[in-house]
């Protein structure tokens, strides 16, 4: 089956500082592919390049059959990106925000309604959606942002630390939502520091450090290969 995303020899530098030194990976349809690594490893840079925010330095990125570098506008139609430190427009009411975002993707008012209804269901915020985003807690804001990212059922959802800053219950809820949408056909590329989260969510994992992918595979494969009990030990072992 054709890969949703294929990354080959991806390089990126900021001035003299090399952020990505040539990485390769692919995301298959209906899978969760996770990038794990320490701060400054190149996870966010990779996600931002695939989300069309940054331009790749070298290498190729193929999204479905499209060259991401040549057709960024087309790619944006089918992906959604949830940055780690994302915010929503504080002066907008939750419902207005969802309509505003849905309007960029929907071709008809009916489709817009479908997107918004789906987002409302994800957030479970009920009447709070009639109040301004500025009054929401961090968990509520993160949920509305996740709902925004998933409401169109994108081909590829790029989630950077999706549960960042959330309490245990909210984080659990977010993970369940992500899994549900993966079952419905959305592929997910995510990054996280939380190894438990990665084990729960991911089908395959890539270990990244200093702009290079050290190893990749399913959590089970990696644990077996590195004779480790969990992904944290796998990560420590690959760094050695």
């Amino acid at each position: 089956m054709e890969n949703v995303l294929t990354v080959r020899g991806l390089k990126k530098s900021y001035g003299k500082q090399m952020a990505l030194a040539g990485i390769d990976f692919e995301v298959r349809p209906g899978e969760v592919f996770a990038l794990i690594g320490p701060n400054g490893a190149g996870k966010t840079t990779t996600l931002r390049i695939i989300a069309t925010l940054l331009t790749p330095g070298d290498g190729t990125i193929t999204f479905l059959d499209h060259d991401l570098r040549k057709e960024p506008d087309l790619v944006r139609e089918k992906i959604s990106y949830l940055p780690e430190e994302a915010g929503a427009y504080k002066n907008m009411k939750g419902m207005d925000y969802l309509h505003f975002m849905a309007n960029f993707y929907a071709r008809t008012p009916e489709e817009e309604k479908v997107f918004v209804d789906r987002a409302v269901a994800i957030t479970e915020l009920g009447d709070r959606l009639k109040t301004k985003v500025g009054t929401y807690s961090k968990g509520m804001t993160r949920k509305i942002l996740l709902a925004r990212a998933l409401m169109t059922k994108p081909v590829l959802a790029i989630l950077d630390e999706p549960t960042s800053g959330l309490d245990v219950l909210n984080a659990l809820e977010v993970r369940e939502i992500v899994r549900r949408y993966v079952k419905e056909g959305t592929s997910v590329l995510l990054s996280s520091h939380n190894m438990l989260e990665i084990e729960f969510l991911s089908d395959r994992v890539a270990l990244i450090d200093k702009g290079r992918i050290l190893d990749s595979g399913t959590p089970a494969e990696l644990k077996e290969k590195h004779q480790a009990k969990n992904l944290e030990e796998v990560f420590r072992s690959s760094l050695r």
Binding site: T44, L54, P83, A88, Y89, N91, F104
Partner: protein, 430 residues
């Protein structure tokens, strides 16, 4: 188009806040209030004024002066049987702003052609210009009386001669020539009229540039500060549409805000000047028309185009500055260079003539795109169409260059990585 309109609607909604509406409403009310207050003061100053008078002479001549003042719509409060010092004290406690003291022997001294001075005491109860107007009017009346008295003396002593020719043997008539047109007026009067006619141009420009630029810079900086920019840049809308929507929204709201501000300002000026100003304007208007110093439809269109282009340049520049700003606070500082770029030609247009300044200064002024709208009105009057269209073309080129640059910045990594951080090292995203 649907996506663009979606974004434009959001941008306008973000800009038109209750705070903006309240602040604009308050501005209109404030200007109208000050205008009305000033109008009342002006009316008081030009209305019937009370003057206290101590006539220590009680001659026919002193009576004639006081009667003359009464006929000039002054209300005279005569103080009888008091000394000068007592009169000064009495008036100090009253409402009268001026005390006239006609000295004893005034009438006789006039007959001897050695007139004693009339003493005028002005009570300054405020330091406003309008407050000091009373004594100026009294002086005007005294001057008129001087003329009448001296004319009658001259007629008596030198019958058959026109006193006016004796007093002013050399007469002058001032004419002003603009191109092939000529009118009777002084050059300083015409210069004053031209500058007062085009006074609104820098004010309008300043207001719109400040409002709109502030809005654009803040709009981009707020997207950064609230962490919404990254999401916006990944939705399916062209980067040029994002720039255009932000600029258009800020331009529209800026124009409306400036219009509202000008409406308030007009109320303020109307309040101060009132009917007298209108009458003066209609008189001077005739002279200005005679000299061709007025805007026809083409003139207004050119002036409008110059203002419009200047606004576009300001918006494009503000967009780039907004990208450089890290957050809302630094965005407030970013507006300063733009304001200076408008202030420099504004003040230079007030105090210097662009055509006579040194060449390097001239090049510097003309290089600032905002100089051209200031120069358009003068150049229109003088028929310097080369300068006008050169200026318009220059502003258009600057606008295109800035927009292309802004679009490139928005389409590149720079939108996320380009920052101006004073005194700090630039960090890279990982």
């Amino acid at each position: 188009m649907k996506r663009f309109l979606n974004l434009l609607k959001k941008e306008i909604k973000e800009l038109v806040t209750i705070q903006l509406v309240v602040s604009l409403g308050f501005t209109i009310l404030l200007f109208n209030f000050i205008g009305q207050m000033s109008r009342k003061e002006v009316q008081k100053a030009i209305g019937v004024q009370t003057i206290s008078a101590l006539d220590l002479d009680a001659s026919a001549s002193s009576q004639a002066i006081l009667t003359g003042l009464e006929s000039a719509r002054f209300k005279i409060e005569r103080i009888e049987g008091k000394t000068k010092e007592q009169a000064i004290d009495i008036v100090r406690g009253g409402e009268s702003k001026v005390l006239l003291v006609i000295p004893p022997g005034f009438g006789d001294s006039l007959k001897d052609l050695k007139p004693s001075p009339i003493e005028t005491y002005s009570y300054m109860r405020s330091f406003s210009l309008i407050g000091a107007r009373g004594s100026a009017i009294v002086r005007g009346v005294i001057t008129a009386l001087n003329n009448v008295l001296s004319d009658s003396f001259l007629k008596e002593k030198l019958p058959g001669l026109d006193p006016a020719n004796l007093k002013n043997p050399i007469k002058s008539k001032d004419f002003v020539i603009v191109h092939d047109r000529m009118a009777e007026a002084s050059a300083s009067e015409i210069a004053g009229m031209v500058s007062s006619q085009s006074m609104f141009i820098p004010i309008v420009l300043m207001m719109i540039v400040m409002y709109s630029s502030q809005m654009v810079i803040s709009a981009v900086a707020m997207e950064k500060q609230n962490k919404t920019l990254e999401t916006l840049l990944t939705v399916p809308i062209r980067r040029t549409s994002i720039i255009t929507a932000k600029m258009l929204a800020a331009g529209l709201v800026g124009l409306i805000s400036a219009g509202v501000y000008m409406f308030g300002f007009q109320g303020f000026m109307g309040g101060i000047g009132g009917e007298r100003l209108q009458a003066a304007t209609s008189q001077s208007g005739a002279v200005m028309r005679q000299l061709g110093l007025y805007f026809d439809t083409t003139g207004y269109l050119i002036l409008g185009a110059a203002l419009f282009l200047a606004i576009l340049v300001a918006l494009a520049l503000a967009m780039i500055l907004g990208v450089l700003a890290e957050d809302f606070r630094s965005a407030q500082n970013m507006i300063m260079p733009l304001i200076f770029m408008v202030m420099i030609p504004y003040f230079l247009s007030l105090f210097a003539d662009i055509n006579t300044v040194a060449l390097p200064v001239k090049i510097f002024i003309l290089a600032i795109p905002f100089s051209h709208p200031f120069l358009v009105s003068q150049n229109l009057y003088l028929g310097n169409y080369g300068m006008i269209f050169g200026g318009l073309a220059y502003m258009l080129v600057v606008f295109i260059v800035l927009v292309v640059f802004a679009a490139r910045v928005f389409s590149s990594d720079k939108i996320l990585t380009m920052k101006l951080r004073f005194g700090k090292k630039r960090g890279a995203t990982a």
